[in-house]
């Protein structure tokens, strides 16, 4: 059996194009990428059956001349699954379009929120995180150092509000 170069080239090309499309933000392109990847995988499955032969029907061809029927059965199953999921994805894309008038992969708001919080202590009940005037009396001794830091900040960064979280010096204030 002489191996064919056509199938590997097509499979490789489909995989490359599919991955490229899958990385796009637009959901329609993602869907197209998924379809290309699915077809590439189906072709890969097909090529595992070896060289092409006659239809694997008993009585039509001798068993030696038949092509391997198992990969074809697997491909049929895979095609059905791909088909169903592509339909579902289309519905999702349409829904996304109806909802927000755009069909792109959305931004994860919670991630952004956590990222914004990164300069702060995760436990906001930590008394050291409160402004000095908000603290319980028991924490009075930590006021002194804070005032000290505030003075330092005032001297070095005059005119800049010390609790502006986007500025690096405020990191030091909370220690």
């Amino acid at each position: 059996m002489t191996p064919t170069v056509v199938l590997p080239v097509i499979i490789g090309g489909l995989y490359a194009a599919g991955v490229y499309l899958l990385l796009d933000r637009s959901l329609t392109r993602v869907l197209l990428g998924f379809l290309l990847l699915g077809n590439a995988t189906n072709l890969l499955l097909l090529s595992t059956g070896g060289a092409a032969g006659l239809a694997p029907i008993l009585g039509v061809a001798e068993p030696e001349e038949m092509s391997d029927p198992l990969p074809q059965a697997l491909i049929l199953t895979a095609i059905v699954i791909t088909f169903g999921i592509a339909a579902f994805l289309l519905a999702i894309i349409y829904r996304s379009w109806r909802l927000v008038r755009q069909e792109v992969v959305g931004v994860d708001e919670e991630d952004r929120r956590v990222a914004r919080r990164s300069g702060t202590d995760a436990d906001e009940m930590d008394p050291d995180d409160l402004a000095p005037e908000d603290r319980f009396p028991a924490h009075a001794d930590s006021l002194h150092t804070d005032r000290h830091v505030e003075e330092l900040l005032d001297r070095h960064y005059a005119g800049i509000p010390s609790d502006d979280v986007d500025l690096p010096p405020t990191q030091g204030r909370r220690r």
Partner: protein
């Protein structure tokens, strides 16, 4: 007997799903009864299967009567039967919870006529994946459960769910395609997809080919199991779904991936060629996952990150490739399915009670609802691995197995496991101290002030100490409060509620409702009952740890031996 029973965990839910879809919207009560009855009978069958499999060892059933390498074969051994029992138990608990939730508020977000059939299809897919005796059937099982999960995750089609669903669907599709490509390559190199036959043939392949096939399978399964570099999709997509859906996803879907990894590592590629890689992945999964959990402030997201993190324990046990490690991993899978589902159900209850799962907005739940506090506290301590509970037993087993294996990497992992356990305790105790233990939100006035701050500037409000200019001067509160101490607390509270409301674009009206005591709704009894039953299950895992560990020990030995599994399938090959 076992041959008759084996296909039932797949068949019954599928038929039940069809029937449930037919009775559909017109007879919701019939539909509920039907789906619960179906899952209860599947549970009975699974328990019987476990008892039989524990007595007789592995058994293979050729579905449709075709001889083994041609037809579909289902295999029951101790591992798959045990997984079936746990999965069905959890599924039943979640279903009862969902029924309680549905009948309590007729929630339009979970259209009940679709939910029940899809849930049953999901359970059929899970059962099929556990019972599959060939790789392609495993693929089909995965696809059944994934397709059902796509529908469940996007139930109602609201904007956040669609957003989360897209991530989840695309990632799952990618892993499925990788798995399918791996199947194609395995078939090309061995000429079979039957796992028992593969066990004999894969070892004869050249090392490079083996490595390629092995790593392809592991990557595909690791995406599904959410092992670290491939886990980023999970905390993004799980928290938006309805509570019961998140619960069953968290409990089952990743564990199906872990199950597939166990089979790959023991049955298909027993040489342990990629054990080192798996150990590093386990280490990263544990540490990165739990650090994510510590950084979060939403209960569901915290739980999602602990879910990712604790997958690392299981991968660690599998990567040890010893009987003790595998037994520990299987025990941990069982424990974690139950515990994670329970915690997500409790999160659902918290959401109903406090109208939020953000710990910043919750408070005083322990006083408002002591039962809910107990329901959260017990599984949370169990998750963190506090001694009497099964989480401790599972972790101890894994750590002992790691120490017994020796070598520096297992020891590093043992240390990481202990640290992860501690950080889990930090994460859940933070939820405890803030949502349950601290005083409840104060007056509605504080909330409107917070909302005003939110409207004034969300960026500045995001810092806990805020921009002082936007807020009322604290002196006012000092004057109004009964004592300086409570006044200080109160002022602090205003700032916190300001943070909480500032984090989401909340309207004034919403802000009022969130903070006020009226928002604490009563809990439907069915939901509480289902959650309490799940908590009892997790606690009983502790009581039953001895016999359970006996089963997992034997299951692990069977896995390492490979003989029983292969013989059970290939005996049919000779004598169909």
């Amino acid at each position: 007997m076992i041959r008759v029973l084996t296909p039932l965990p797949v068949l019954l839910p599928l038929l039940g799903a069809a029937a449930a879809l037919l009775v559909g919207g017109r007879h919701p009560r019939t539909q509920r009864t039907l789906s619960i009855a179906v899952l209860a009978s599947v549970l009975t069958v699974s328990v019987l299967l476990l008892l039989l499999a524990h007595d007789e060892g592995a058994t293979a059933v050729s579905v449709g009567g075709w001889p083994v390498p041609l037809g579909i074969v289902l295999v029951v051994d101790r591992l798959s039967a045990l997984m079936l029992v746990v999965a069905t138990t959890v599924g039943l608990g979640v279903l009862v919870f969902a029924v309680g939730q549905g009948s309590a508020d007729g929630d339009e977000e979970t259209p009940i006529s679709i939910f029940h059939p899809t849930f049953l299809v999901l359970m059929a897919g899970v059962a099929n994946a556990f019972l599959a005796g060939d790789l392609f059937n495993l693929y089909v099982g995965f696809e059944i459960l994934l397709t059902a999960s796509y529908v469940l995750l996007t139930l109602g089609g609201s904007a956040p769910r669609i957003r989360a669903g897209v991530t989840y669907i695309v990632v799952s599709l990618l892993s499925s395609l990788l798995f399918l490509a791996a199947i194609a390559l395995i078939y090309a190199s061995t000429g079979t997809v039957n796992m028992a036959q593969l066990a004999g043939r894969l070892g004869d392949l050249p090392d490079g080919v083996q490595l390629l096939l092995h790593s392809l399978l592991l990557i595909a399964f690791s995406i599904k199991a959410a092992v670290f570099p491939l886990s980023a999709w999970l905390p993004d997509s799980y928290p938006t779904a309805p509570a019961p859906v998140t619960a069953v996803f968290a409990g089952l879907l990743t564990k199906v991936g872990v199950y597939a990894i166990i089979r790959t590592q023991t049955l298909l590629f027993p040489g342990g060629a990629l054990d080192q890689v798996l150990m590093w992945a386990a280490l990263a999964t544990m540490v990165v996952g739990i650090l994510g959990a510590v950084a979060q402030t939403d209960i569901r997201r915290i739980l999602s990150f602990t879910l990712v993190s604790h997958i690392g324990y299981m991968v660690f046990g599998i990567a040890l490739s010893t009987a003790a490690g595998l037994a520990g991993a299987i025990f941990y899978v069982v424990h974690h399915i139950a515990i994670q589902t329970t915690l997500f159900l409790v999160a659902g209850l918290i959401e109903r009670r406090g109208d939020s799962t953000a710990v910043d907005r919750l408070g005083g739940l322990a006083k408002a609802s002591p039962l809910l506090a107990v329901l959260f506290f017990v599984p949370a301590m169990n998750l963190a691995g506090i001694p009497p509970f099964s989480g401790f037993i599972g972790k101890l087993g894994l750590l002992e197995a790691g120490v017994a294996t020796g070598g520096w990497l297992p020891h590093v992992l043992v240390a990481a496991g202990v640290v992860t356990s501690l950080l889990t305790l930090v994460a859940v105790s933070r939820v405890w101290s803030r949502a349950f233990w601290r005083p409840p939100a104060q007056s509605p006035a504080a909330d409107t002030a917070g909302a005003a701050v939110a409207d004034a500037g969300p960026e500045t409000g995001a810092a806990p100490t805020g921009d002082g200019g936007d807020e009322e001067p604290p002196d006012e509160d000092v004057d109004a409060g009964p004592s300086p101490r409570t006044a200080a607390r109160r002022a602090a509270w205003e700032r916190h509620t300001a943070v909480a409301t500032a984090t989401t674009p909340a309207t004034d009206g919403l802000g009022e409702e969130v903070g006020s005591r009226r928002a604490l709704r009563p809990l439907p009894q069915v939901m509480v009952g289902a959650t309490a039953a799940m908590v009892v299950v997790t606690v009983s895992l502790t009581a039953l740890a001895g016999p359970l560990y006996g089963v997992t020990d034997q299951a692990a030995e069977d896995l390492l031996d490979r003989g029983p599994y292969v013989e059970a399938v290939l005996d049919d090959l000779v004598d169909p």
